[in-house]
Amino acid sequence: MRIVVAMSGGVDSSVVAGLMHEAGHEVIGVTLQLYDHGAASGRKGACCAGQDIHDARNVADRLGIAHYVIDAEAAFRERVIGDFAESYAGGRTPVPCVRCNQHLKFGDLLGLARDLGAEALATGHYVRREDGRNGPELHRAADEARDQSWFLFATTQAQLAFARFPLGSMPDKARVRAEAARMGLPVAEKPDSQDICFVPSGSYADIVGKLRPEATFPGDIVDGEGTVLARHDGIARYTVGQAKRLGAASGQVVTHIDAERRRIVVGPRDAGSRAVRFAEANWLIDPPEAPIRAAVKLRARETPRPATIDALSGVATLDTSALAAPGQACVVYDGTRVLGGGFIV
């Protein structure tokens, strides 16, 4: 079948393209140009394409498949970077990868794949798509350490039906690299990408500050009573649950970010709450009308927490209290299966 592969230029999506090609599909590689690489790296006059785009092309060339670069800069700026800055300015901690998956990879790119008459869109995500009794299901990857299911909770059922994740059953990254080497792909030894793709220097607060300067203005660190304990250099540098950068308030954790008054509120390390509210929910099952027992993950890397989830009111009641950071995702799991989730509010 004709299948579009989202190729980032990294080893994972390159192996996906290779495997689909080997399987006899008509593979169309597409790379989304998400931001002007020259501008991001601060080099005036640098090529707008980063090394990753050249790598993707080289891989496609090596495989002998068609490859196209799509300008997704405007959508990325608005829906991912804009949302990123907006969230920090509002005292939340965004997950840009979720927005990118939601709007660009499984939004615009999936639409392009349909327009090109493709029957599926394959990506290098480490998740499994299983065909269940009531349609496709999203499951955690076989390689627990690489599992990305938390980042894909916002994928709709229709999007999931069109998606393929050939790496979901790979036992580990070494196997993926071995496959790349076996197929002679020039990215077999390429290091894994780090952190947030549009923050090359690692200073995400600078990017937030450019778009929403007030998020990097100094302010007070206070306790629950409003007593000033220390100063901070911008709410964008803080996340609920954070214990660093607290100065004289060290030993405590951030329990709340008051964006309006630019205040970081701290509390004791065992602070928390059992109720986690979430919004913008997406369900990969029929939205449950009664509360269900399942597990939730409130961060990308943590052990699922047993909870009772009320889909109608958008509340997960944890068995034991925790500090949930607004802007992060509350993803609901039944064993390995993602049932749905929402953004923590």
Binding site: I28, Y68, I70, G111, L112, R114, L116, F162
Partner: protein, 389 residues
């Protein structure tokens, strides 16, 4: 599978680069065996120099220039930059709104001359702008690469003369497709590219009017080649191919290309396309077709997958399709993002329209379905749309 899978691609992107003409190919290959450097004193050097000067004379004759006023360089991007830096360094610069990036990037602080809705330069505004400037350099392309729209160069040249300004003409797309002598019309300089007229890539020339020949300051000094106006050993094989392409470039082919282009345009309009700039005088080989509802890049990719090579906007080095400043300048609004360029090469086959239109009609049907159906979210579209074109 697609009907033409496995067949030779149908090449309809001549404005990106023309098909190499057989005489150019032969001359290029023959010149590859010329060992000498045209600057060397020995016999091999003299032989190389002889070929270089013969080529220069042929190119000069074709474009109505004196041989000594032909400055060889790497191509039109360099020729445009050479004119802007070499003739415009002490002048206010005005450029047309639909100029190629070769001009736009070389004159980042230039004043922009707007175009009319049909894509031709707005002469009344040019007149007003020139009245305010002293001794400006005006850069205007003879014909636009994306739409084929021909600018009124003679009128622009008269305005320049009346206001004491000088005119640089980017004649890249017009060369060998239109029968004009831009130097005779009053241009101070003219940029030409070999590979846009059926010669090899890697050679071009700036033709300078005798009155400005001494004023041209070099961009690259190097070893003083090209009478000190462009340093660096000349790309002799490409230049020999350049001259040979001109020898065989027949304007007589123009009527045939125009008929093929008109057939493509008529069929595309029937399928729902809008031909951009069709009310203006245009190059015979070019049409710019807008199909509302489907992005330009989707159209280019879908046609490529059907074995048809066209383009949209101007491709950056990443290969991404950037939004067309040309169509934006013409005030096309959202339509600007939905237009592709079809440009027939000199050797286009008589079957090209039928083959192009077969694929284009499928695209148009999909665009129509998108326009009629789902003006809702991408998610709703994804649910509602069948997967197959």
């Amino acid at each position: 599978m697609t009907p033409f899978a496995g067949a030779e691609p149908l090449y309809l992107d001549a404005n990106a680069t023309e098909t190499l003409r057989p005489a150019a190919r032969a001359a290029l290959i023959a010149a590859l065996d010329r060992v000498g450097n045209p600057a060397s004193v020995h016999a091999e050097g003299r032989a190389a120099r002889s070929l270089l000067e013969k080529s220069r004379a042929a190119i000069a004759r074709h474009f109505g220039a004196r041989p000594q006023d032909v400055v060889f360089c790497s191509g039109a991007t360099e020729a445009d930059a050479m004119a802007i830096h070499g003739l415009g360094s002490n002048r206010p610069i005005l450029i047309g709104a639909t100029e190629h990036d070769a001009v736009r990037a070389a004159a980042p602080n230039a004043t922009t001359i707007p175009v009319n809705a049909d894509g031709t330069i707005d002469l009344a505004t040019l007149d007003r702008l020139l009245a305010r400037q002293n001794g400006a350099l005006v850069c205007l392309m003879a014909a636009n690469n994306e739409t084929g729209v021909i600018h009124p160069i003679a009128e622009a040249a008269s305005l320049c003369a009346a206001h004491g300004a000088i005119l640089h003409v980017d004649a890249v797309q017009a060369a060998c497709r239109l029968d004009y002598d831009y130097l005779a019309l009053g241009a101070a300089s003219v940029a030409i590219s070999a590979h846009k007229l059926g010669g090899p890539k890697g050679a071009g020339a700036l033709l300078v009017a005798p009155a400005h020949a001494d004023a041209l300051a070099p961009l690259i000094r190097g070893g003083g080649q090209e009478r000190g106006r462009r340093g660096g050993t000349q790309n002799l094989p490409a230049i020999a191919g350049f001259a040979a392409a001109l020898d065989t470039a027949q304007l007589g082919n123009v009527a045939r290309l125009a008929a093929l282009r008109d057939a493509i345009e008529a069929g595309a309009r029937e399928a729902g396309a809008i031909a951009v700039g069709a009310d203006a005088p245009r190059l015979p080989n070019t049409t710019c077709l807008a199909l509302p509802g489907l992005s330009a890049e989707t159209q280019v990719i879908a046609l490529d997958l059907d074995g048809i090579c066209v383009s949209a906007g101007s491709a950056c080095s990443s290969g991404k399709v950037a939004r067309s400043h040309v169509l934006d300048a013409m005030g096309l609004g959202a339509l600007a993002g939905c237009a592709i360029r079809v440009s027939l090469p000199w050797n286009a086959s008589d079957t090209a329209p039928a083959r192009f239109l077969a694929a284009y009609r499928r695209l148009a049907a999909r665009a129509l379905r998108k326009r009629e159906g789902f003006s809702t979210s991408p998610e709703a579209r994804a649910v509602a749309e069948p997967a197959i074109i």
